[in-house]
């Protein structure tokens, strides 16, 4: 179980409790956090679940994988801390995670 905070581009916060094994994308969709569309349901096919991971969490969420990196190459407003949230698996270690949503997905 982990508590995850999603911060919309306009600063609005959504705090979600999510079980281990789900992805950060799934937890957002299940709680209707706006700005994470995730049309493909996590198949890494649509790049509509882009988030910025708060820098202090980057070591715990891990790096972009190669498929994700290629997808993000074509997303808008990509930063070094960009991730596709469908590729981040929730575990106890991510309890307290904070991610921000890009303007382009608003």
């Amino acid at each position: 179980m982990a508590k995850i905070t999603y911060i919309e581009h306009d600063g609005k916060e959504h705090v979600v409790e999510a079980p281990n094994g789900q992805t950060v994308m799934e937890a957002a969709v299940k709680h209707a956090v706006p700005g994470i569309d995730a049309d493909c349901g996590g198949a890494c096919a649509c790049a509509t679940c882009h988030v910025y991971v708060d820098p202090e969490w980057l070591t715990k969420t891990g790096e972009q994988n190669s498929m994700e990196q290629s997808m993000l190459d074509f997303a808008n407003d990509v930063e070094p801390n960009s991730r596709l949230s469908c590729q981040i698996k929730i575990s106890d270690a991510l309890d307290g995670l904070v991610v921000r949503l890009p303007k382009s997905q608003h």
């Binding site: 299940k30 706006p34 498929m67 290629s70 997808m71 074509f74």
Partner: protein, 413 residues
Amino acid sequence: MSTGEIRRVIIIGAGQAGGETAQRLRQGGFEGEITLIGEEPAAPYQRPPLSKAYLKGEYDIDRLMLRPASVYSEERIALLTKTRGVWIDRANRKVRVEGGRELPYDALVLATGAKPRKLPLVGADLDGVHLFRTAADVDAVRARFVSGAKLIVIGAGYIGLEVAAVARQLGLEVTVVETAVRPLARVTSPEVAGFFLDEHTRQGVRFVLGGQPALIKGQDRVTGVALTDGAELPADLVIAGIGVTPDVAIAEQCGLTVNNGIVTDRHCRTSDPNIFAIGDCAARPMVHYEGRIARLESVHNAVEGAKIVAATLTGGKEHTEEAPWFWSDQYDLKLQIAGLFHGYDHVAFRGVMADRAFAAFYYKGDKLIAVDAVNRPAEYLGAKMLIQTNRTLPPSVIEDMSRPMKELVASAR
């Protein structure tokens, strides 16, 4: 029709298209009544994983749900499960559901989806012969979908090949019977089809191409499939993936224009201005393909339809359409498709098949119309952007692997 008049929206069909429409109407600020009518027992869920992670047992039904069931009551969406719309009274704007109840609407959205084709064969109703469309279909297969079981897949489309891939990974003996001379004949080029044929063959799948099933054999349950050439293949389980037909019964009943799907304009409006049709059941002009009318069976199409209708009914900003996209997962191969390849006259490759990472770019004249990308996400997304923005790149440029895809896309006109 101004939005001020619309107080009641009924959506018939609670698949991804219907579910997304309800959700996006609320997100777009629609305050009126929303009734979502579906035949299945479950709230709207994602179908693509059914032939992938769900069949494999990696995902349960909760994980497939588009939204938790509680969201529907929270957002005042009346979800009627196990309910079928049977009659539309267009003059009085009412839908009758099974059992006789009549529900009035100001706007009606048909998202009735498609029904899998049944095998037109003696024995098709035997125990152990399955179609593959709903979670219940997959649940029915599961007990016999075990290592060592003999599986015959009839139909080598994406569903058939995805099922074959999962079956091999779980240790079943798999034979795929396809009436065409190659797999994926309807959906991709001979080159890409050949790649998938080789891959499945290497993984131990047996193919009978150009094979015509004549009869499903068995007494109480299936024991095999007989082909028209006299061959008999033993089976513990038969799964048919021979395509779907759009569910247009209710549209035909009320006299809407139907032609391989409920025909709509580009705003998903049917021949009745108060009725919209979206998803697998509907055919509309493709804005990226000179307005050619097409009926697409995909998540992309379901979601686009929901976005278009929600924008229209809430008076929101008109939705800018994405180029069509699709995907298929088989073994460790991720196939990502952008665009519509029908009518191509040239194909160019980036990367080589032997590396199991390549992309086929389809051209009609000078124009790039589609891509099949295998383990090549950059090529997929790059081509999708080009098609969306009506740009192209010559085949000789596309084939130049010394330049990254992103750079090529930036240079395109």
